[in-house]
Amino acid sequence: MNALSSTLAMPRLDLHDSASLLVSDQEAQSPARASQSAKMATENLSAWFGKNKILKEISLPIREKRVTALIGPSGCGKSTYIRCLNRLHEVIPGARMEGRVLLDGQDVYTRAMDPVALRRRVGMVFQRPNPFPTLSIRDNVLAGWKLAGMRPERPDDLVERSLRQAALWDEVKDVLNRSGTSLSGGQQQRLCIARALALEPEVLLMDEPCSALDPIATAKVEELIHQLGEKYTIVIVTHSMQQAARVSHYTAFLYLGDLVECNTTDALFTRPADRRTEDYITGRFG
């Protein structure tokens, strides 16, 4: 709990403001309760590739069952940030990090936390759809289980539930045995979302999930993110400000590795506190 209250104290994180602006449920009632709903948080998170410091002491809470968007120009460290959350950053040779990442108040970078177990709790969807080409659609959904050599209790139900959640079931229910890569790009991305959901993760990270999709597929995936945001804690990286505005409750603006500003999406876009945020969202650079 100490960790959580310390994230509360971060500057520029205007909880009173945000609560009154956006959400009318329990967060509106008291800042203390709002703090309880931080599912994840980072404290002074820095990350490097070799000698390049990509992230500079980022402290950011991630609210439970809310969509948090990270925006910022290319190369600002958005992707690196969410890859630190599920410890995928450390997989890259030469990459390292410092600081703390908390999941339910527990540091995920300790020996006690197995990255494999962590990644089952913190799912991820990538920039480009990456279904396994050698697996069928059905097996792609179950991939998280199959990779670990496990079998869910009722695989067929799980497949259907996950695909329904990903709004893909009606399109693929008759072709479950076809290859995962036989689908269109947008369908593939929703398949990847279904694959992540099949593990029933607590947090879902999405790294520019629509950047490889056409506008119609993008609209579908955005609608989906919006719905999932009611049940899952979602962190989405996007370079589209419109997208952040459409799907997220909270938005954080990163610039050159710094967290410039974090607020409710409404507040950040209508009343940016920092000059750089204002410049970025009004399109003066980016």
């Binding site: 997989v91 396994f132 080409p133 694959r195």
Partner: protein
């Protein structure tokens, strides 16, 4: 049309994957087809098409010429012995009686056993180099593996005679005879030089080929697949086994074919250690003979026309065995690899 979907979203700045490479080659094939329909206006392009086409056609020409010449030279023996040549165990230049079976047996058995030994080890090396090794190990070790492939076969042969064979004779084979001697494969006099030495030498020789090509194939698997697997909570091992290897399976099979091709045709090193006796024996201790070895050993002294024709026919058989095994392996690739990409690499 799975391939088409795969490439809907070409990557920007990502390392070139086999998918994009395949896609490009498909496109170039398509454009060259449209060239043939006469849509070329530019005369330089037309000339270019013809020149490269002729150069490519020369491969077929040479292959055809070799086959034809070999058939012509061995005609005498083919007429004399017919199919019996393939199943006969005789090889007697004095009586002019020739049969190829012991050589076919020696070639096929030594190559397949060498493959069975080398493939698991080579795969292990490839997986380590491509997936697990830290960067500072990766390059030097990869270089060493490739260097192994560059050692001339006569060196391997000498090593086989002076190091491997004595070791087999004095240590390995007596031990095998004692422990597994009830099996027909480990019976007889431990000689050192024999089928076992041939198999081991071949395995060592094809190991670097299979390892380095497999490593290239594994490295060509898009890293998005790896990260996808890791993000789903796979361990490294699960990621390699269930996400990377299946995508690379066709290419790895291609690497294995390359190794097999080298094993079948290897002449010098095998001749030096295999024992050179035209016998068919189940025991790995016994000497054996291979098609390539007997041709190399006896061609210079082949006096009679029939003798020469029989030797040439052995060459024809070696050629045929290689072609047949390659076709079988390609068919395997077709069946196994739902993504027939890596095969093109190999």
């Amino acid at each position: 049309m799975t391939l088409k979907q795969d490439t809907n979203s070409p990557s920007v700045g990502a390392p070139e994957s086999w998918v994009s490479r395949l896609w490009r080659s498909l496109q170039s094939l398509r454009s060259s087809l449209s060239l043939r329909k006469g849509s070329v206006v530019n005369p330089a392009d037309r000339a270019f098409l013809w020149v490269t086409g002729i150069l490519a056609g020369m491969v077929i020409l040479v292959l055809g010429a070799i086959t034809l010449q070999m058939i012509r030279t061995s005609m005498l023996s083919i007429r004399q012995f017919g199919w019996h040549f393939l199943v006969s165990k005789d090889w007697d230049p004095v009586l002019d009686a020739y049969g190829a079976l012991p050589y076919i047996y020696g070639t096929v058995v030594s190559s397949l056993l060498a493959l069975a030994l080398a493939v698991p080890i080579a795969l292990g090396i490839a997986i380590y180099l491509a997936e697990l090794a830290p960067n500072w190990v990766r390059r030097p070790l990869g270089f060493l593996v490739e260097l192994l492939a560059a050692i001339p076969s006569v060196i391997y042969g000498l090593w086989g005679i002076f190091v491997l064979a004595p070791w087999l004779r004095e240590t390995v084979q007596p031990f095998l005879a004692k422990t597994l001697g009830f099996l027909p494969f480990f019976q007889g006099t431990p000689r050192g030089l024999g089928l076992m030495a041939g198999v081991l030498i071949l395995a060592i020789m094809i190991l670097p080929t299979i390892a380095s090509v497999s490593r290239d194939v594994l490295e060509a698997v898009p890293s998005t697949l790896r990260e996808g697997a890791l993000a789903l909570g796979a361990t490294r091992w699960e990621m390699v086994r269930k996400a990377v290897l299946p995508s690379a399976s066709s290419g790895i099979l291609g690497a294995v074919i390359l190794g097999l091709g080298r094993a079948l045709g290897e002449t010098m090193a095998v001749t030096m250690v295999i024992g050179n006796r035209a016998e068919i024996s189940l025991s790995l201790f016994d000497p054996s003979y291979s098609l390539a070895s007997v041709i190399a050993n006896e061609y210079a002294e082949a006096s009679g026309d029939l003798y020469l024709a029989a030797l040439t026919e052995l060459g024809l058989i070696l050629f045929g065995v290689t072609v047949v095994l390659n076709i079988v392996a390609r068919l395997l690739i077709w069946r196994v690899g739902k993504v027939p990409a890596g095969a093109g690499r190999a």
